[in-house]
Symmetry: C2
Subunit: 667 residues, 2 copies
């Protein structure tokens, strides 16, 4: 990382790449302060900034590796930057010389035709160039498209329509096609604005600790560096390879239904019952009872049944989130110990989740975090026999609570998913079950990689829509994968069914086809099971699902090799095409197909009514369509038949797994 001073400014260069260009008449840095209005409604945020000041810091004085910025010559220094690092790993540290500052904007030099990816888990746009991305963990929204009726209705009824940039897992990190990565070390609200031609503008609602820059000669080595930076997941548990995890929340009936699914020929690795803690009945329908222990009424003799399943190599998974219902058994215990976040009056802050209130366990209090890990997850879940769970939420830290560490909740809001992941990982580690117990999260932020063994793509709508349907899962997997999240999966069949939008058999089948080519195959009944088709309710759907579980299991030797690769190198299982075809720029913006490892290319059918599918095969390899054994040269668009059960998947002609892949035709 070099500072090259010039007439009236300087350039900062990273291994030949111009990163910052500062001139007195074209400054790279602006500072000021703002007074934002932030309203939260059940995890959806309405945020509007009032920028009181935004002053260009035109005058820069470079002394060694330190740059002092002021508005003009003779004015006081307002912000100092300390540049450090070598050609591969650079950093710019920030030191505010003015306590009133709470906004910075920094312009990063761009190139024409540059692509940028990352930003956490981005569901709508994998290539972020041309748009602005606020980075603030929240509900992702329903429909996520302001031109859609469903989004309009969600906005009006619950402020929950969302937009393209809303995500459970934002992260102020991007990778550029210039083969460098930028990461802002901050938990404050930030925004990446990629709409300008000459610069990317990074906005942070605080003085960030530093901005880190990583340059590598190839995309693969850049992604490896990201995984090193943000932490590496443990391998997937061995039991996962046995088949799909079946999501049912039907009380004791779930066990019967599981048997029918197994009897239909499905390969099953687990039964996931999020209602293991029992139900609460509200006017909105049945909700889970947020008191994290087995409910004997809904699941009599659960401990025994778990043991029976395990003997058949089928694991049992549950559900937990970081809140405790006021009318549960854990609440008084946590409150007596002072483990909850407080309100303005020093009382336990209560959050309304829809006809029931909860306390928010304050994970900035290390005793509270340890208690949750040991008492709740350790004792009530792991010791009870659970092999995994959905570790839900993480996006909802209210911005007005008082926390034990004394830091403004607005600055801790984004940090919460990572703290929540850490609590879960600590509980797993305490039982020696790292790499054996599997929890999965939708929320994330910087550092979640280190603690969370598996992401799930959140609550897609039960449809084929562009911004909230099946296809968004791919963008989520690819963007998060570049930042060191090796494992991603999604709710087969989608989750959110609102305003009369319900699942079709076709949707479930197309989703299952994709799920077979992800690290973990898992179904979900959705938010309204009774109104929506389930995999075991239609013989065609069930038979198709069973077939896809066999595909998944058949591929397990290959998947295990990818897991090994993730463990050693940090490469994600699902990869953008350009990761292995960086010489082919036509791959740079593809977000509806992916490489599954280096040898398989998967292009899920994500639209309704299709019997064939078109996709681009990257240049530099020869490809075999796995179902037809037909060979295609790379560097062209191809169209292949795509009947149910035969999703468009190709393998490289040259692959040590070629025989395994060929075996798919015999299933």
């Amino acid at each position: 990382m070099q500072i090259l001073t010039t007439d009236g400014g300087f350039d900062i260069v990273l291994d030949g790449r111009l990163i910052l260009r500062h001139r007195i008449d074209a400054p790279c840095l602006f500072v000021g302060h703002g007074d934002a209005r932030m309203d939260m409604y059940r995890g959806n945020f309405d945020i509007e900034d009032y920028v009181v000041e935004r002053t260009p810091l035109a005058h820069a004085v470079v002394v060694g590796s330190e740059i002092g910025f002021s508005a003009a010559s003779g004015q006081k220094t307002r912000l100092s930057l300390q540049v450090s690092g070598d050609d591969q790993n650079g950093a710019i540290a920030f030191r505010s010389e003015d306590g009133a500052l709470n906004r910075i904007w920094i312009r990063i030099a761009t190139e024409q035709g540059e692509h940028v990816w990352g930003g956490g888990e981005q569901m709508s746009y994998f290539d972020m160039r041309g748009r602005r991305f606020p980075l603030w963990t929240s509900e992702p929204g329903v429909g996520r498209d302001k031109t859609m009726e469903i989004t309009f209705k969600a906005d009006v009824s619950g402020k929950s329509g969302g937009d393209y940039w809303n995500t459970n897992y934002p992260q102020p990190t991007y990778l550029s096609s210039r083969r460098y990565a930028l990461h802002v070390e901050t938990t404050a609200y930030s925004a990446f604005d990629f709409r300008r031609g000459d610069f990317h503008e990074i906005e942070v609602w605080a003085i960030p600790e530093r901005i880190e820059f990583t340059a590598r000669p190839s995309f693969v080595s850049l992604v490896e560096a990201m995984s090193e930076r943000f932490g590496r997941q443990p391998p997937l548990p061995e039991w996962v390879y046995n088949g799909a995890i079946i999501g049912l929340k039907d009380g004791a009936r779930s066990f019967e239904r599981l048997e029918a699914i197994v009897a239909a020929g499905a390969k099953v690795s687990g039964l996931w019952c999020e209602d293991w803690i029992g139900l609460r009945h509200t006017t909105f329908g049945a909700r889970l009872f947020w008191d994290w222990k087995a409910n004997d009424d809904r699941y009599p003799n659960l401990r025994g049944r778990i043991a029976e399943l395990e003997e058949r190599d089928i694991r049992f998974l549950g559900y937990v989130n970081p809140y405790l219902a006021v009318d549960g058994s854990l609440f008084p215990e946590a409150e007596a110990a002072g483990y909850f976040a407080k309100d303005e009056n020093g009382k336990t802050a209560l959050v309304d989740f829809g006809e029931f209130d909860c306390g928010v366990v304050d994970f900035t209090n290390s005793d509270a975090a340890a208690w949750f890990a040991e008492r709740v997850i350790g004792k009530n879940m792991l010791d009870f026999g659970l092999s995994g769970w959905m570790a839900d939420f993480g996006e909802y830290l209210p911005i007005d609570v008082k926390l034990s560490n004394g830091i403004d909740a607005k600055l801790m809001h984004n940090a919460w998913p990572t703290l929540w992941a850490e609590v879960n990982a600590r509980a797993v580690a305490s039982r020696g079950k790292t790499g054996e117990a599997l929890f999965f999260m939708r929320a994330g932020f910087t550092g979640v990689q280190k603690h969370c063994p598996l992401l799930w793509g959140g609550d897609q709508s039960v449809d084929f829509t562009r911004h909230d349907g099946l296809v968004t899962v791919i963008s989520g997997a690819l963007s998060s994968g570049l930042l060191g999240n090796a494992y991603h999966h999604s709710d087969i069949g989608g989750y959110t069914s609102l305003f009369g939008n319900v699942r079709t058999a076709e949707l479930i089948m197309r989703w299952a086809e994709m799920g077979a080519f992800t690290p973990v195959m898992r179904t979900h009944e959705g938010n309204r099971p009774r109104d929506n088709l389930q995999i075991d309710e239609d013989p065609q759907v069930l038979a198709h699902f069973a077939r896809m579980t066999r595909v998944y299991v058949h591929l397990s030797p290959y998947l295990k090799s990818l897991v090994a690769e993730a463990s050693t190198r940090g490469l994600p299982v699902q990869r953008p095409l350009f990761l292995h075809f960086e010489q082919d720029p036509r791959t740079y913006a593809i977000q509806d197909a992916y490489l599954y490892g280096s040898d398989l290319l998967v292009a899920p059918v994500w639209q309704a009514g299709k019997s064939e599918w078109s996709l681009y095969l990257p240049e530099g390899a020869e490809w075999v369509h796995v179902w037809s054994d037909r060979t295609f040269r790379g560097g062209q668009d191809v169209t292949v038949p795509a009947p149910f059960g035969e999703p468009p998947v190709f393998h490289r002609t040259v692959s040590e797994f070629a025989e395994l892949f060929a075996g798919l035709r015999t299933l």
Copy 2:
């Protein structure tokens, strides 16, 4: 206007009112520059600013009446303010010392409980405190409420849903309950932000010429001063008092239908046929043919029929707007003379109005303006026999055309309505018909008062909705009236019928009831006449309408006295309650009732399904309900019966027109 210097700053005081408060740590002025994206789609604008710089000018040096502002001591002066005027009329003139500046923000001191009104013609919120108002002439939108289905559909299909602040007639002027007015002399995009507790923030996308301040001891004298400042309308023509203007656009059949309306007992002063120029057939339905001359096919022998009507004291009115269709007869004449605004290549700029293109007559070219006034309005309209017309549009100046005066179209966009009004007024004056020919406009901006004899409230939806229905007309009349627009009226029955939203008989009747208590009573068939009920299609509606025209005519002696008052003092005919009851703060935010002159209080029924109506009667007078003769003391909420034909109207007990008002009961 006094500058009082203090430690570290100054105050500017107007007759005892603190207007500006500047301290080095709380500056009143911010400058910078922005790079706005502005997209226009058929009069609807999508505008987003990118504020590159917003620097507080903390350092102020006062020398006499001049204040030089810089960011800090020792820095160059960026903006100079020249303060002038006396205790009643002050001004702050701006002089930029920095050519790069194109944004200023200035903070005006506030008081707790302060109310603000004005902003041109505001349809949603009369009292603007607590909200932000961009001031940019545009289509007002359909529904104008983002929670409504109709607005959602309009947004998706035509970017035309609008919001509370969208208006055909913005004006950067407000009146404060502190009994002063502020006016920004600029045509640039500006915004008034009344959301802050301690200050109003005025934002202008240019360096404005000046900000004017007017202080008066009473609201009445303040409104008089506004009329003096912005210009005074000619009196209404005598013929208007004969009854309603009937809007029909049914070709020659319009004359037959008029006879039926007259035969039903309606008092009629005019027949308004906007289709007098003929029709064009598009896939959207019939549109007017934008070539401003009588169409003999649609209206055979129109000149003769106009003369026949006039003999019966019924005038004929037409329609015009500032565009010329490329396939009309006037276009080649204007193009040959170079009268059109140009595109980037110096060619005539063509604007798509929906399957037909038009040229925009460039009113900054004085020859073009004179030609339009003489050749089009003078010869084709006035000399032809028209006594009035809708002077439509004015909001659509494209922001990318090249104008004769060389000024950026972004800076002329807001000026256009006033230029358009001036062309119309000049044509009328050229025939000596000022105060005799009556044109009416929806678009406006600063100075439109001087030229336009009558506003109409624009294109309300055909419904009772809060933000686009009947009630919005009242807010429009009151806000514009405070700024010197004495005469306001609206389309009886509303105009916009989209997405299946159609008129009810009740709506037409309630609207006619209000129309009888406005300066001009005029009907409109709406945008989809065939789909919507018309006044002559339902006997109950027609009889009710006829009754309301008799009410209007009965009140004409009183209306004439109000017109005289408008001519001499500039007071609007429709007035907010507080104008004459300023000692009663409960009147300050009322926007669904008005004083009609000083002696009548009108509270139109603006909701469906009502048989009685509640309203507040101001303290300081005794009120007689005109239909029941029942007397009420002021200072209380009252409820009165409100059957069709008896809108809630009260007169002061003490009034020189008391007998006339009492006569309403005998109609």
